[in-house]
């Protein structure tokens, strides 16, 4: 629709018409500001815990385990230099061979959700699937944090 609009504007004499082809979906999914009725709805981006531990794919599991334990978490997100999510090390994976690399021990391609997903809807989906947490990323796959279902349920209950 927007390419046609941009062409239409040009036909109307606009010499510098630009088409933001990925549209509002891309903008909101990146956690950028929104105006309108939905702007006050809590999203997973609001509830993502940005302090979830991360590690590089080449790090040894033994080293990662020690670091993760010191922070009080039970999981670690494997990311590349751009903080793009590659995999997830859950508690069981962190207990595997200390000499293995994070890349070898990780669960590749974990499910991720976008920042603008309404928290209430996400909590409902997670309840149905029996999921306790989910990773939140930008549309480009960059890690924002980890959202716990219990956080989303608590906030939506408070708002009800």
């Amino acid at each position: 629709m927007s390419p046609r609009a941009a062409w239409r504007l040009e036909g109307l004499g606009f010499s510098k018409a630009h088409d933001y082809a990925p549209g509002r979906v891309d903008w909101f999914a990146a956690g950028l500001p929104m105006e309108g009725g939905l702007a006050s709805v809590s999203t997973v981006g609001d509830m993502a815990r940005g302090d979830v531990p991360t590690c590089a794919p080449g790090e040894k599991v033994g080293e990662v385990r020690g670091r993760v334990r010191r922070t009080g978490w039970d999981r670690c997100v494997v990311v590349n230099e751009e903080r793009v999510v590659l995999g997830l090390l859950c508690e069981k994976d962190l207990m595997s061979d200390s000499e293995a690399t994070a890349e070898e021990a990780m669960r590749p391609g974990p499910t991720t959700v976008r920042l603008d997903t309404p928290a209430e809807k996400m909590a409902e989906r997670m309840r149905k699937r029996g999921t306790a947490s989910v990773l939140v990323t930008t549309p480009d796959g960059e890690l924002i944090g980890l959202m716990y279902r219990k956080d989303a349920e608590r906030v939506t209950a408070e708002q009800a």
């Binding site: 629709m1 927007s2 630009h18 549209g23 990146a30 950028l32 929104m34 309108g36």
Partner: protein, 67 residues
């Protein structure tokens, strides 16, 4: 010929004062739109409705997604 731009390009142009037009129907605009965007639905895009826009300055149009 109109230029296709992406998120970073939009941000840069907005910082420079570009005009932003949401071409979705009014109900969808009311639900959510980019800050500062005005609403001119595609079907209503004509000489009259675009009178308030500056023709020689950058203008960015967007809809829902690629489709």
């Amino acid at each position: 010929m109109p230029t296709t731009i992406f998120r970073d390009g939009v941000r840069e142009l907005l910082e420079e004062g570009a005009q932003l037009v949401d071409v979705l129907p009014p109900e969808e605009y009311g639900e959510a739109h980019l800050p500062g965007a005005i609403n001119i639905p595609l079907k209503e895009l004509n000489r009259e409705t675009t009178e308030r826009l500056r023709r020689d300055e950058p203008v960015i149009v967007y809809c829902y997604d690629y489709l």
